[in-house]
């Protein structure tokens, strides 16, 4: 009986003309509307897809994508192996959705100490799949259609598409470079916001500002005055602050990472985002977190429970143990949070030296493991192409990886479409690399310089 009914349905399909709606999804253009949702409009392009592929194909020295080429610390790896092979095989099963209890407890303790507050691990902390997913939860929870979000340029590239996917409007305000003192190298501190310009970006529709300090790609560490400027505007306009602090431990030259949530009037309106990947040199573990008042985090929990729900258990257990160790050693010389920035500062200085020696002008970063350099003196190798759609630095970076085997990321990747040509002669290097890698980069640069100067 079923078969007869089945047949008649097919007859029905053949004889009856297709009415309003779309034709089959066999890859051809639909009759009236596309298969994908409107929220994907304008967010399909992604710089990393292209540049990661190029680095994989051509590079001998990859200073492009931001991840260490050295391993996580031994104590962390041991914690991971201990967790997965230990007697408690339930660590291979679901844990608490909003964060594995040992991890949220230690995070509440640790950040409570840093912020001078009593944090409730169950309500003031939420674990996410990397800081990336924490950002996603924030935008989905708080940005509605028509809301404006202020983004400081240059910015970690995902902020813009995430705001758009949430139906929001990104409003950009640039850091502007000031000329360094004579004879000195430019520092990331020389890139600053114009207070009047910043203030002008706030409107009735502004819902949030996204702050990234230490800043990727420039390495800028916002000082107290700069944070107070931002905080005053947040309070005045009653907006939220999403504070991406993934590089919080990577600050150099004795500089201090100041948490904007600790400023007057800011705790209640700020979500702080952190990352185990950056904290413990384990980017592939994808463990991140948010810290903030329950009033805000409750909405992040709603997004989280309706999108991924749980994060992997074993890595959370290991990160919890890592933080326990660091809490015991806080401020002491054998703390990983003291040792890592010390090592990275040295690597920063090597790379600065290498670049300066050949005529690429580095902007010395105050923090993060990124460094941006001005490649104007190397422009002759990559001639300008008038009316090109592609920003100059992008073409330069592609030429460089293909011809010199050195991978870096064009700074224009960190600007919105209309502003990509504003600063198009800079490229970003990642220096979280082994000594051998940085030496090899130096060799490439030296050889390149020699080829330029010899007839």
């Amino acid at each position: 009986m079923l078969r007869r009914v089945g047949l008649s349905l097919r007859h029905f399909l053949l004889e009856r003309k297709s009415c309003a709606g779309y034709s089959s999804y066999s890859g051809e253009a639909k009759m009236s509307r596309p298969v994908q949702a409107r929220r994907l409009e304008g967010i399909d392009k992604n710089i990393w897809v292209e540049f990661v592929k190029l680095a994989a194909t051509y590079s001998t020295v990859n200073l492009g994508q931001g991840f260490p080429d050295f391993p996580p610390p031994d104590f962390l790896k041991e914690a991971f192996v201990g967790a997965l092979s230990g007697e408690n095989h339930m660590l291979h099963q679901y844990t608490r959705a909003f964060g594995h209890p040992p991890l949220v407890k230690i995070l509440a303790q640790f950040f409570g100490k840093l912020l001078g507050r009593d944090l409730d691990p169950m309500t003031d902390v939420m674990v996410t799949v990397g800081a990336y997913q924490a950002l996603f939860c924030c935008f989905q929870a708080f940005v509605d259609e028509g809301d404006e979000v202020i983004i400081i340029e240059p910015f970690f590239d995902c902020y813009e598409p995430m705001v758009k996917m949430a139906g929001g409007t990104p409003v950009f305000v640039p850091l502007r470079p000031k000329a360094p003192k004579d004879g000195k190298l430019m520092s990331s501190a020389d890139w600053q916001l114009d207070p009047a310009e910043l203030a002008s970006k706030f409107s009735k529709r502004t819902k949030a500002i996204i702050l990234n300090s230490p800043n990727n790609p420039l390495g800028k560490v916002f000082n107290r005055g700069e944070l107070e400027l931002i905080a005053d505007l947040c309070v005045k306009h009653d907006i939220l602050c999403i504070s991406d602090e993934v590089y919080e431990w990577l600050v150099y030259d004795g500089k201090e990472h100041i948490r904007i949530a600790s400023l007057q009037g800011m705790w209640d309106r700020t979500v702080i985002i952190g990352s185990a990947g950056k904290t413990f040199s384990a980017t592939g573990w994808k463990v991140g977190w948010t810290v903030g008042p329950n009033r805000l985090l409750q909405h992040l929990r709603t997004v989280h429970q309706n999108s991924v729900y749980h994060c992997a258990t074993v890595a959370q257990e290991a990160v919890a143990q890592g933080f326990q160790r660091e809490l015991e050693r806080y401020g002491k010389p054998d703390s990983y949070f003291v040792q890592l920035p010390k090592e990275l500062q040295q690597k920063r200085d090597w790379l600065v030296q290498s670049l300066d020696a050949v005529g690429m002008k580095p902007i010395v970063p105050e923090g993060t493991y990124f460094l941006v350099a001005d490649i104007s003196e190397f422009k002759s190798d990559v001639p300008d192409v008038p009316n090109s759609d592609e920003p100059y630095d992008s073409r330069f970076a592609k030429w460089m990886v293909k011809n010199k085997g050195l991978a870096a990321i064009p700074l224009s990747a960190f600007y919105c479409g209309p502003h990509k040509n504003n600063y198009n002669h800079f490229i970003r290097f990642c220096f979280a690399k082994e000594e051998a890698t940085l030496k090899a980069a130096n060799d490439i640069l030296q050889k390149w310089k020699r080829e330029k100067t010899s007839p």
């Binding site: 089945g6 409107r38 095989h89 099963q93 997913q133 573990w285 258990t313």
Partner: protein
């Protein structure tokens, strides 16, 4: 001040969750927990060994390819090419996600928008409804109807061919969510039933989101059929799978979506704008485990089949215990859940004044007085069918012998105590 910090419209009303209430129970060791669906058996040892091996490789602790670790998508393509009998491109036809949950989210965010309708078969895995709503779309429910036969109670969808429910498919219907083997009922949709759904999808040009996380857990006399393999369905179907359910590692939170490039590419866009990449060492370990089992897919020792056999005997034991206690279980054909009609016990809870369905009250009573937990079935129902299913509760039987032994003691002593 409060106005500015309000949540967005998209999450309005989506904050409550049945699990929050009932998983707290899991923390109490005196309760025999047959509620939440997670194994308390160990994953196979080679799976754990592969994870240890992966974690020892430096670069496997750093970012991998966003849409899926190369060795994993390769392994998945091989396994599923074999199962589906068609070519599956590992780079364009597969997306690795944070659990099957993440695949459901990516699929719905990619392909469903405001103004769309999405058909959900009731009872349903509870996240489907809020995910559809979060995408701005309208869930449209079609209930499974039960028929008790001489041999057993079954649930079927054949009635779908009658006009009353075919009108649920219309020009606004963007997708139907199918779950086979089914949670919570344990139904394995037959080829005829899948054909009924397929015919409607083709007729109305509807997508099919096929949640097949329990695909390997089918019991004797049943076969798991992938709707994507029916004529006309590959191009309109996203098939979702889960490492957690395949390898008894729910805490690894790895899943995947498989489908045609022109649909998967949109899921990839969602993924690159939500979490970008999944954890590397877990993906590498999963890839290695898949290779081990792929090589023995003709061998009964393959974990896909051995787990199923192990669970079938647990299913049978569970069913017997429940029957002996005077309950009426619905014997599942697949999955690791069993629903039970508790009305035969005639537990009077009318004096409990909470405005909750009977099964919620029953489960709470059972937890406190019998120290046994389950999940109320109305948690898996839309507003109109809650009444219909409120005499059922769901047990999970992917539990070690010790847990089932403890459950046996409780069930055997059930009638000795009165409420």
């Amino acid at each position: 001040m409060a106005f500015r910090h309000e949540n967005t419209r998209r999450i309005e009303g989506l904050d409550s969750n049945v699990w929050v209430e009932f998983t707290k129970v899991a923390a109490d060791p005196s309760i025999v927990n047959l509620g939440q669906g997670l194994p308390d058996i160990s994953p196979p040892s080679y799976v754990k060994e592969e994870l240890a091996k992966a974690a020892a490789v430096d670069r496997l602790n750093q970012y991998t390819r966003g849409f899926g670790h190369p060795s994993l998508v390769k392994a998945l393509s091989q396994v599923y090419e074999r199962v589906c009998g068609r070519r599956i491109d590992p780079l364009t036809d597969i997306l690795v996600t944070v659990g099957a949950y993440g695949s459901l989210f990516s699929t719905i965010q990619a392909l469903i928008q405001e103004g769309d309708e999405v058909i959900i078969i009731e009872p349903f895995y509870d996240c489907y409804e809020p995910m559809v709503k979060m995408a701005g779309a309208k869930p449209v429910f079609i209930p499974l109807r039960y028929v008790s036969s001489f041999l057993k109670i079954t649930y079927h969808i054949k009635f779908l061919i009658h006009t009353q429910y075919t009108n649920k498919f219309n020009s606004k219907t963007k997708a139907i969510i199918l779950n086979t083997p089914h949670n919570p009922i344990g139904k394995v949709f037959t080829r005829e039933e899948l054909q009924v759904i397929a015919d409607l999808c083709i007729k109305h040009d509807t997508l099919c989101i096929s949640d097949e996380v329990y695909e390997w857990l089918v019991y004797k006399g049943n076969k798991h059929i992938k709707i994507a393999t029916l004529p006309g369905m590959w191009e309109r179907t996203i098939t979702i799978g889960s490492a957690g359910k395949t390898y008894s590692v729910t805490g690894w939170k790895l899943g995947w979506s498989i489908g045609p490039q022109n649909l998967i590419k949109h899921l990839q866009v969602v993924h690159q704008n939500t979490l970008y990449t999944c954890p590397t060492p877990l993906q590498e370990a999963l890839a290695q485990a898949f290779w081990i089992d792929y090589k023995r897919m003709d061998d009964p020792d393959c974990y896909f089949y051995s787990l199923s056999r192990e669970l079938e005997s647990k299913r049978d034991r569970m069913a017997q215990l429940l029957q002996e206690a005077g309950l009426k279980p619905v014997i599942p054909d697949g999955g690791y859940f069993m629903i039970v009609d508790v009305s035969t016990l005639n537990v009077d809870l009318s004096d409990v004044d909470e405005k909750q369905p009977y099964d919620y009250k029953f489960v709470k009573w059972m937890i406190t007085s019998k120290k046994l937990s389950a999940i109320p079935l109305s948690a898996f129902c839309g507003p109109e069918t809650k009444r219909q299913f409120e005499k059922y509760i769901r047990f999970c039987f992917i539990k070690k012998d010790g847990t089932l032994d403890a459950a046996e003691v409780i069930l055997k002593n059930w009638n000795k105590q009165t409420a």
